[in-house]
């Protein structure tokens, strides 16, 4: 696989991001699907335990840190991000020396309901306030009452944060953050869309490695400049006909969170078989935040965040995947049945039937390397490629 130059820049950027968290006057631990724009607009530094979990997975220490929470009674069936995050708190460290102690906690259940219990545990450990932003699950359609319910909570959250920090949210500041968020998401989406090209200049593994800025730095200038650079590099590849893998014959779509401790292994496995995973449902989920409206911030925020990828019914999910299949012209879908992420993995066998191309399901976990069975995964994937 040809490495992107921007990946080095990403490491540097995220290194700074984590360091700054320790210096911030106020910081909030936040879930990946929450409206981070509100925090940036109030100068509250966002800290992402999920991103930290991914980092632990990538360093292959998931099992090690999980055990710190498992030996205190947390079940091995719980999400491995949660187990690692809580485990690191108990261990008093992590591969990056642990996260800064939170001023408060901000959990939004539009990605799963585990985050509610997880953050309640953190709230008890750190003895800091917790705000739960409760988003109704959208089975078929988004109702007006849902939106009003979420909108009211967004105002409550602003009050909650203002009381803690003693500062008030400035309208102009929020508008500025939203502009940057929209710009960042637009550039990020354009980066992902370059994979429409044949051969593709990037793989979903490039997307995974370089997604941290859109998650953690959305709404800041950092994300805007980072994705500007990444887009330039990808477009340069397209102009010069440089492909991400040596010989792209089969194009595939990845579903679910990556197997962080096996990113390189998967990348090389597919490259050796001339298959390119050009896109994935996970990183594409962040392109949906591009629908915020500058002149109607709070109500558009309620809508956009309630309709997040993991907060919608199976038919809508299948529709989105089919759209990605069409956009990226893929021949098949590799679905990771992720032991940790129940809302993401639930229904995959049903969704598989609704897709316009064949799909294969492999079992693994995003962070816990102890559940990975290489021979089983290899047999399923090889048989799938033989079938295609």
């Amino acid at each position: 696989m040809r490495k992107l130059r921007t990946s080095d820049r990403m490491r540097e950027l995220m290194g700074h991001y984590y360091m700054q968290g320790h210096q911030a006057e106020f910081n909030a631990w936040i879930t990946s699907g929450a409206p981070v724009e509100l925090l940036y607009a109030m100068d509250i530094y966002p800290v992402y335990p999920e991103n930290h979990g991914a980092l632990i997975g990538a360093t292959k220490l998931g099992g090690y840190y999980s055990e710190f929470s498992e030996k205190r009674g947390f079940s091995r069936d719980l999400c491995s991000y949660a187990r690692c995050d809580i485990g690191c708190v108990f261990a008093g460290t992590s591969p990056i020396g642990g996260l800064p102690k939170p001023t408060f906690l901000f959990a939004c259940n539009n990605i799963c309901n585990t985050v509610v219990k997880w953050y309640e545990v953190l709230s008890r450990i750190f003895k800091v306030p917790l705000f739960v932003l409760d988003m109704p699950f959208v089975r078929k359609e988004l109702k007006e009452s849902h939106l009003r319910y979420v909108e009211e909570q967004l105002y409550d959250f602003i009050d909650f944060s203002e009381k803690i920090t003693g500062k008030s949210l400035e309208d102009s500041r929020l508008k500025d953050v939203i502009s940057k968020s929209l710009e960042g998401v637009r550039l990020y989406s354009e980066c992902l869309r370059t994979a429409k090209n044949r051969p593709s200049p990037m793989t979903c593994f490039d997307a995974f490695v370089n997604m941290a800025p859109i998650v953690c730095l959305r709404g800041t200038e950092h994300a805007v400049s980072f994705y500007t650079e990444m887009k330039e590099e990808l477009e340069e590849r397209v102009r010069n006909g440089i492909s991400a893998i040596e010989n792209e014959e089969i194009r595939l779509l990845w579903d679910n969170i990556p197997v962080w401790y096996r990113l390189r292994w998967f990348g090389e496995f597919f490259e050796r078989r001339n298959a390119c995973l050009v896109a994935d449902t996970y990183t594409n989920a962040w392109t949906g935040f591009g629908e915020l409206k500058k002149d109607d911030i709070i109500s558009s925020m309620a809508e956009v965040y309630t309709l997040s990828y993991l907060n919608i019914g199976m038919d809508m999910t299948a529709e989105i995947i089919n759209r990605l299949i069409e956009i990226y012209e893929v021949d098949g879908v590799v679905m990771h049945s992720n032991r940790s992420c129940k809302p993401y993995s639930f229904g995959q066998y049903e969704i598989q039937k609704k897709l316009s191309v064949p799909a294969v399901i492999i079992e693994a976990d995003m962070v816990d390397e102890r559940v990975f069975s290489e021979a089983q995964v290899v047999t399923r994937l090889e048989a799938f490629l033989e079938m295609l």
């Binding site: 049945s337 064949p358 021979a375 047999t379 399923r380 090889e382 048989a383 033989e386 079938m387």
Partner: protein
């Protein structure tokens, strides 16, 4: 043209030698910890039975979990593709292959010998040959006795646990409650059949259904599957060699 197919599974290794679409010889042996050695042994033995020289073989294809240890193979193909090819070689109108092996089970939707779709059991021994082995040993039976005994059962006792370990304790408690061995083992066979048929429904069951793998020899499981799908399945004379046969056949193409 002479081709050889070698299937290294979790419990047994199989080899088939084909000459112009006719089976010359085959052999099934127990897998030893040294997989490379097992592969050579089953291969050499099959050559010996065929009465040919090693040099006469044009192509060797390896399959099964241990396919990558067969260093002398010209090609490696997964057991899914090989089972589809092998079953269709024996029964040209194969629509579905149900393979129950030692450590995994799979259902393959097939059309003209090609794989349309497949599903495999997850990280669990339920629904595999190992499940029966564990239950047989809890009941003090030899694996060969299981099928006939189940066939003679007056009723099927319900095994509700899917987990092999818990199912074993269910079996033991039935024994201590004085239930008859054949009724218990019939329940064990039905438990496997129920898991397999549920899995088969995911890819859709289309005739003819060919049952392969060591468990296909078990009449209890076979009948339980037939009851659940509502028609008879086809079972090759030697169901264990279908993967190796498919590998040998694919080697000729």
């Amino acid at each position: 043209m002479i081709s050889a197919g070698i299937d290294i599974g979790s419990i047994t290794a199989k080899c088939v030698i084909l000459r112009d679409s006719r089976i010359l010889s085959y052999k099934v042996i127990r897998v030893k910890p040294e997989l490379g050695l097992t592969a050579r042994e089953v291969f050499e033995e099959t050559i010996r039975i065929a009465g040919i020289e090693r040099g006469e073989i044009d192509v060797i294809v390896a399959t099964g979990y241990g396919r990558n240890v067969v260093e002398f193979a010209d090609k490696k193909i997964t057991e899914i593709t090989c089972h589809a090819a092998g079953a269709s070689f024996l029964f040209p109108d194969t629509g579905t292959v149900i393979d129950i092996g030692g450590q995994d089970s799979k259902v393959i939707a097939v059309e003209n010998g090609r794989v349309l779709d497949f599903v495999m059991n997850d990280k669990c021994a339920a629904g595999t040959g190992r499940f029966i082995e564990v239950m047989a040993s809890a009941l003090g039976l030899k694996i060969e006795e299981v099928g006939d005994l189940a066939f003679r059962a007056a009723k099927k006792l319900k095994i509700s646990s899917t987990c092999t370990v818990f199912a074993e304790s269910e079996v033991v408690s039935y024994l201590s409650a004085g239930e008859r061995v054949e009724n218990i083992i019939a329940g064990v066979c039905d438990a496997i059949a129920s898991r397999i048929v549920a899995m088969a429904n995911r890819v859709g069951i289309k005739r003819e259904v060919v049952l392969t793998g060591g468990v296909a020899k078990n009449l209890g499981v076979r009948r339980a599957i037939e009851e659940r799908i509502g028609f008879e399945v086809r079972v090759p004379e030697e169901p264990q060699i279908v993967g190796a046969l498919g590998a040998a056949f694919l080697g000729t193409r």
